[in-house]
């Protein structure tokens, strides 16, 4: 396990006061919050920032962290000395609502037991009350095609759990999850009983998986509808043509009406994501000009210029 330099994460001095820490946290949260920042690593970065704030923004935790961290630098191998926390009593961190936010191994080793004790309403050494297990939340990224045909995907989840002796263990679980046909990005798959185990005989919590589609090189997704760009030759657009369009369900034939221009949007009804109300597939036409790279092609363009008397800037 590596030592985490929470001061460095927040970009503050070790002597920073509460106000400095709050300001630094707010500034970084605005920048890296995954609801605002679409970068792939925004969530991981925000977790790190939240974790640093959870420790440095809390007097008790900060004092404990400063004591174990004397002389340690970020990235160095680190093991907390046995019984390091005997002098501290944590009053259960902000922990918060969902409780699904994951923490680093480093945080879990230092504060994990106290945090979980607080969150489950179970004090170490106290009697266990019956309580339903917590719900877990995770994201699952699947190919768009899964929504057309249904699929089974294996996912791996990691969750810290306390064993009988009170030690924190990272438990790895592999789950085969059925991806229902017709599911859309932003929807959730509920797996009953796959959350945290219940206490005192109460039922386990559930696992909710938020679905996201992998970006697809061909189709763009908006809710139930798909968008695709289709390249057509000038004569196909001008004279009309019957063309093949690839859908996630296979090829379909589509008529390009005569007199189409680049950017024209054609709808293939019901060819979007399947369901009670299936989505549509929108085809955006892109007229592609043949290159004028030999005499024959140049002659054809010149003839068009003469015969058509066409001024694209006339209107």
């Amino acid at each position: 396990m590596e030592f985490k330099d929470y001061y460095k994460v927040l970009g503050v001095e070790r002597t920073a006061n509460e106000d400095d820490i709050k300001k630094a946290y707010r500034r970084l949260a605005r920048k890296h919050h995954p609801d605002v920042n679409k970068a792939a690593d925004a969530q991981a970065r925000m977790q790190e920032i939240n974790e640093a704030n959870e420790v440095l923004g809390d007097k008790e935790k900060r004092a404990a962290y400063d004591q174990v961290g004397q002389g340690a630098r970020g990235g160095q191998p680190f093991n907390p000395p046995p019984g390091w926390d005997s002098g501290f009593e944590f009053s259960g961190g902000p922990g918060g609502f969902g409780g699904s936010e994951s923490h680093s191994d480093f945080f879990e080793a230092l504060f994990g037991a106290a945090r979980r004790g607080g969150m489950n309403g179970r004090r170490p050494g106290g009697g266990a009350q019956a309580a339903r297990g917590r719900d877990h939340h995770a994201k699952v990224v699947v190919p768009l095609e899964d929504s057309f045909h249904g699929a089974t995907r294996e996912i791996t989840l990691h969750s810290p759990e306390m064993d009988a002796s009170g030690q924190v263990a990272l438990r790895e679980r592999r789950l085969q999850v059925g991806i229902p046909k017709g599911i859309r990005a932003g929807q959730q798959i509920r797996l009953t009983g796959q959350g945290s185990p219940g206490l005192g005989g109460a039922p386990a919590g559930d696992l909710y998986l938020e679905v996201e589609f992998e970006p697809h090189p061909r189709w763009r997704v908006d809710g139930r509808d798909l968008y695709v760009t289709l390249k057509v030759a000038p004569w196909e657009a001008a004279l009309g043509a019957s063309v093949e369009v690839r859908t996630p369900d296979g090829q379909v034939e589509m008529n390009v009406p005569a007199g189409s221009q680049s950017g024209r949007k054609l709808r293939l009804r019901g060819r979007g994501i399947p369901g009670g109300t299936p989505g549509d597939l929108y085809v955006l036409l892109e007229v592609v000009l043949p290159p004028a790279d030999d005499d024959k092609a140049r002659a054809a363009y010149r003839k068009m210029a003469q015969d058509l008397a066409f001024d694209p800037r006339a209107s």
């Binding site: 396990m1 707010r26 949260a29 605005r30 919050h33 995954p34 609801d35 605002v36 925000m46 939240n50 093991n79 907390p80 046995p82 902000p94 918060g96 609502f97 969902g98 409780g99 699904s100 191994d105 879990e108 080793a109 339903r132 719900d135 939340h137 294996e154 810290p160 030690q167 263990a169 990272l170 438990r171 790895e172 679980r173 592999r174 789950l175 085969q176 999850v177 059925g178 229902p180 017709g182 932003g186 929807q187 959730q188 798959i189 509920r190 797996l191 009953t192 559930d206 696992l207 909710y208 998986l209 938020e210 679905v211 763009r220 908006d222 968008y227 760009t229 009670g276 929108y282 955006l284």
Partner: protein, 111 residues
Amino acid sequence: MNRPASSTTTATLSLGVCVSDDHALELQAFAVACGVDEAFVGQLVEEGLVQPAIATPTWRFGGEELGRVRRICRLQRDFGANLHSVAVMLDLLDENDRLRVRLLRAGERLP
């Protein structure tokens, strides 16, 4: 102390259901899934920040609403924002999403 020990269980098949339509959640189950109390969900609906997917005969909520309430909680917690501020943030984020989708539909690749 060593790195927390890892244990692995073999893959189990779990079919699961999509939280919508027939499997939309009643208020109580929805509040539990969001990690909030029912009164808070009521307040969000009253303020127009969340709408039940199915309004009659009783409120029922789908996965999109679940994601939205969790987002509201994140914004409240991470920015110390009150509900009025969260409402403005959600409006701006929604607008941003709509514009992103329009760009995407038009075939623009976003960074």
